[in-house]
């Protein structure tokens, strides 16, 4: 095997390990961000394929991949004019009858709706901060992915969490 082939085989091995570790995090981030699991899977794969096509790992492959994925997500929204799924947002939440047999699915759909609405009421940066930190990305990776000062990440994250809780609470009050 030539040195080039050895190098490429080594990179492929490194890439597949990275793919296995990162795909679940990317998928969950994009799924939570957009509410569309099919699209989330496609974008996550496309971002990782772009990394493979790069030919070598960048300095921070996690941040690099998140940046690409977020750009692809934004492109998809702006070009296709995709409306984010807000489940049953135009109708009032159903009143749960205590005698109803299966309370679980109805309650979780309403809960998902409230969480989605609260998330949508944040700025794009706050949403991504919240969701990416939930996936375990470091402050350094968050700063690189979202192009913000690393020394501000903590403050912005605190605000995002607080805003999300407040919006969620307001939405819960409004729905009775």
């Amino acid at each position: 095997m030539s040195k080039v082939d050895e190098s490429r085989a080594g990179f492929r091995q490194e890439f597949t390990r990275f793919f296995s570790a990162q795909f679940p995090k990317l998928f969950r981030y994009l799924d939570r961000l957009g509410g569309d699991p099919g699209s989330a899977s496609d974008i996550a794969q496309e971002a990782l394929v772009k990394l493979y096509q790069r030919g070598e790992m960048p300095d921070s492959p996690e941040a690099w991949t998140v940046t690409v994925a977020l750009n692809l997500f934004r492109n998809q929204r702006s070009t296709e004019r995709r409306r984010l799924q807000i489940l049953e947002s135009s109708s009032a939440p159903r009143e749960l009858d205590e005698a109803t047999a299966s309370e679980g699915p109805a309650r979780s759909a309403a809960q998902r709706d409230r969480v989605r609405t609260a998330l949508e009421q944040l700025s794009e940066r706050e949403r991504s901060l919240l969701l990416l930190r939930s996936e375990g990305y470091s402050y350094q990776q968050l700063a690189a992915s979202l192009q913000i000062q690393e020394t501000s990440v903590g403050t912005l994250l605190a605000r995002a969490r607080r805003a999300f809780i407040e919006r969620y609470g307001e939405n819960a009050d409004a729905s009775g």
Binding site: V4, R28, P37, S41, Q45, G55, L70, N75, A158, R162
Partner: protein, 275 residues
Amino acid sequence: MHPDDELLQRRLDGELSRDALVDVQAHLDVCSECTLKLERMRAELERVETLLPHLDHDLPHVDPNSVLARLHEWLPGAAIVRDVPARGGRFAFVWETPWRRWAAAALVLVSFGGVAYAIPGSPLRDWVQSAREWLAGDDRARSRPSEDVGIDDSELSESGVAATDHAGVSALPGEAFVIRFESITLGSQVLVTLTDDPEILVQAPAGAAGFTTGDGRITVEVQKPGTTIEVFLPRHAPRIELRVAERIVFEQSGTRVTTDSSADATGRYLLPLAH
């Protein structure tokens, strides 16, 4: 002094250095106000982590080896195609075949039509032949020069890069970035493409331009007449300027672009550098 939200949040998220952690903890040990504040932040974090999973769908099973196998099957020219150097270094650029190029090439081929192709002496014949080779993916263009394709050493420039290759630099855009062009030669121009990649890439045929990098900037010294410098800009970068001397010839701010040139059919901008 009470630690601010930044420090408390970092304490909560485990992002403090050891020394900073000692200092913050020492303060918390004697300050009930800050301790309460930290506990409130902790409750918010836990609440967020309890609520977000309500949005989740099942994780699909995706095998990376299957993804790569399909990639190689459907786009043979899309295998490892580019090597980006460590800072400031040269690199051997090889062709890539993104979907957009396939579509653009097909559109142009159809537009020209059979009549133009049939005209004796038409340059279209040579063009079509070149496009056919490019679309098929020339094996020689795919690999590094001087390795496993038997390129004659006499074809290498002094830098060791094959004459058909490009050289350039890449950088992350940060919050603001300037690309400056100097020593403009006759007929030189810049071709700007917006991409989904996170990095700025500036390249030119090997030997046609020199590059220097600094904090938030790349300087390009054009060295040969008629050079086309390719600039690839991240589509969502906060702010990037292209300057000739102090004149701004292209400005990108997020998705908004300001320039005198119009985008072509493939969304790229061709900017003449000389007045």
